[in-house]
């Protein structure tokens, strides 16, 4: 009965804003970040480190707006705001 994260996120209605509400402040900080823990603690797999491109990608349209990454990135390297009003996730049960 356990599903992939894609299947799980598919159950949440999402209205994508044009711009990402999550911004990596400095990719160089990610390059030197030893733990890259955003790749783990995010409940929606938003962040992914790409060694070849030396870059953290941000799948902001997966974000369930919990706020964890804002306070859990050891370098506070994520600029975090809410999606614009009415955008982002809408739960149907809650």
């Amino acid at each position: 009965m356990s599903q992939s994260i894609e299947e799980r996120l598919f159950m949440i209605r999402y209205k994508a804003a044009e711009q990402s509400h999550l911004i990596i402040k400095d990719q160089d900080t990610c390059l030197h970040c030893k733990t890259k823990e955003c790749n783990f603690f995010c409940p929606a797999d938003v962040y992914d480190w790409h060694p070849d491109e030396k870059k953290t990608s941000v799948a902001f349209e997966n974000c369930i707006e919990c706020g964890t990454c804002r306070l859990a990135c050891p370098d506070y390297n994520i600029e975090w705001v809410y999606p614009t009003g009415g955008h982002g996730i809408t739960y149907k049960l809650g």
């Binding site: 799980r8 783990f40 409940p43 964890t68 009003g85």
Partner: protein, 448 residues
């Protein structure tokens, strides 16, 4: 809601020219309770929410309690959308493939009712609709991006709409655990990872009859189960609550532990779903929704000052959660109500400075919010000092091992068994002294 709501949306430009007696940011339980209280007293209130509707962004376990909402709206449960009336509460201490359990079931929880299970999308919409009917002006799909200040006093809010500045005599911050506004005001700093936990949850559908049989329920009766252990040695708590024809299953872990363990939150949930005690309860069910949210865990020591010139802060935004008793919505409602009442007083006096708004701080201090959180103020320190692996991994497992040995009839003398059980627990805690220390610290932590 829909008609006025749409016209207001397009009318934001006009609205902006109006002044409000009070502006509430966030239509969760705290914000809606504040808005309801003020609107009922005749104040002109704006209720701002970033979601498409109140509740759109919100999840909880969740259990709703009668008392604090009753103080706001008598017999509210007769009209609110609820799931089941909680008559049984269970606590499971999980081992790898075992459980030691405690529970209390009582018919007296029916009359007067004590608590219900619920789902936030429906519930938050209902509570906000009460505020709207009392006259609060709903402004949804709108993010408050900034507080407008003049001479150190909060005088309004800036929103992400065109011409989206709103002015009011005071602003109630009920913007939830992330509370970007509380931070912008400098009321509190960014929460440290050990001041919040991250919970992920699934709502799992099951035919009603099956659900009732599995949880030993009739009609509208409900059951809650909390569990510790089986969280990969992270400080955390799981929950499994019965709704009408769904089960709310989730697990929350401290963010500082989550950072250390490098485990994905939904993998913790996956593991829990495999536990024999839980697997059987949800077997054959269909997952309807996945969700995640932070929970304030700092408690008493993390609570910021609650008011200043032109503002008051309530609910999760002020860390008002009693994690030991999984109470949050009721603290939110009670604080929202107290903030609302203070706003009414300020309106009468025409004084919106901290002199009058400080009344809210004082009232919270005398209430169960301050007192209950104070009682448990040691918990945060206990978790900080103790290794989570010990408290949430080894000890629950040792208790299960001890129970196993104790009940196993294998000819070993009972005296031997008792010795072995004690040894198992002592080793799990790291020795005699540590077990004793843990006992004393634990006692102190819950007896403030």
């Amino acid at each position: 809601m829909t008609v006025s709501h749409t016209s207001l949306r397009s009318g934001m430009g006009i609205l902006a020219e109006e002044r409000f007696d009070a502006i509430v940011v966030g239509a969760g339980p705290a914000g809606s309770a504040a808005a309801y209280t003020m609107a009922t007293a005749g104040l002109k209130v704006a209720l701002i929410e970033r979601g498409e509707f109140p509740g759109a962004k919100n999840i909880f376990g969740g259990v709703l309690y009668r008392k604090q909402l009753e103080d706001l709206i008598p017999e509210w449960w007769k009209e609110a959308p609820l799931e089941r009336a909680v008559i049984e509460q269970r606590m499971w201490i999980l081992g790898k493939e075992s459980a030691v359990t405690f529970s209390h079931r009582n018919e007296r929880y029916k009359e007067p009712p004590n608590a219900w299970t619920g789902l936030r999308v429906k519930f938050d919409q209902w509570l906000a609709s009460k505020a709207e009917k009392a006259g609060a002006v709903p402004i949804y799909e709108t993010v408050v991006t900034e507080l407008i200040r003049e001479n150190g006093r909060v005088v309004g809010v800036r929103t992400d709409r065109d011409q989206g500045d709103l002015y009011g005599d005071l602003v109630v911050l009920a913007d939830g655990v992330n509370s970007l506004l509380g931070k912008s005001l400098g009321v509190h700093k960014e929460w440290a990872p050990d001041e919040v936990s991250l919970a992920v949850k699934e709502v799992i559908a099951l035919p009603k009859e099956k659900l009732q049989d599995r949880f030993n329920l009739e009609d509208n009766e409900g059951c809650t189960i909390e569990f510790i252990g089986d969280t990969f040695g992270m400080a955390g708590l799981g929950f499994m609550y019965t709704n009408q024809d769904t089960i709310s299953l989730g697990v929350g872990v401290m963010v500082n532990d989550l950072k250390k363990k490098r485990i994905k939150p939904y993998e913790v949930l996956d593991a829990v779903k495999q536990h024999p005690s839980i697997r059987r309860m949800i077997q054959g069910g269909e997952v309807k929704e996945y969700s995640g949210h932070l929970i304030p865990e700092g408690g008493f020591t993390s609570m910021p000052p609650l008011s200043g010139d032109g503002w008051m802060i309530c609910g999760d935004a002020a860390q008002m959660v009693n994690a030991v008793h999984r109470e949050g919505t009721n603290l939110a409602v009670a604080s929202g109500k107290m903030a609302g009442e203070t706003a009414v007083l300020a309106h009468q006096r025409g004084d919106y400075s901290i002199k009058t708004l400080g009344e809210y701080d004082r009232n919270v201090k005398e209430s169960f919010i301050h007192n209950d959180l104070k009682k448990y103020r040691g918990i945060h320190g206990l978790f900080k000092e103790m290794n989570s692996d010990t408290l949430f991994g080894n000890l629950p497992q040792a208790l299960n091992d001890a129970a196993y040995e104790w009940l196993l009839v294998d000819g070993v003398f009972k005296k031997e068994k008792q010795k072995k059980a004690i040894r198992t627990l002592r080793n799990a805690a790291g020795g005699n002294i540590d077990l004793l220390r843990l006992g004393i610290k634990g006692w102190r932590a819950i007896n403030g």
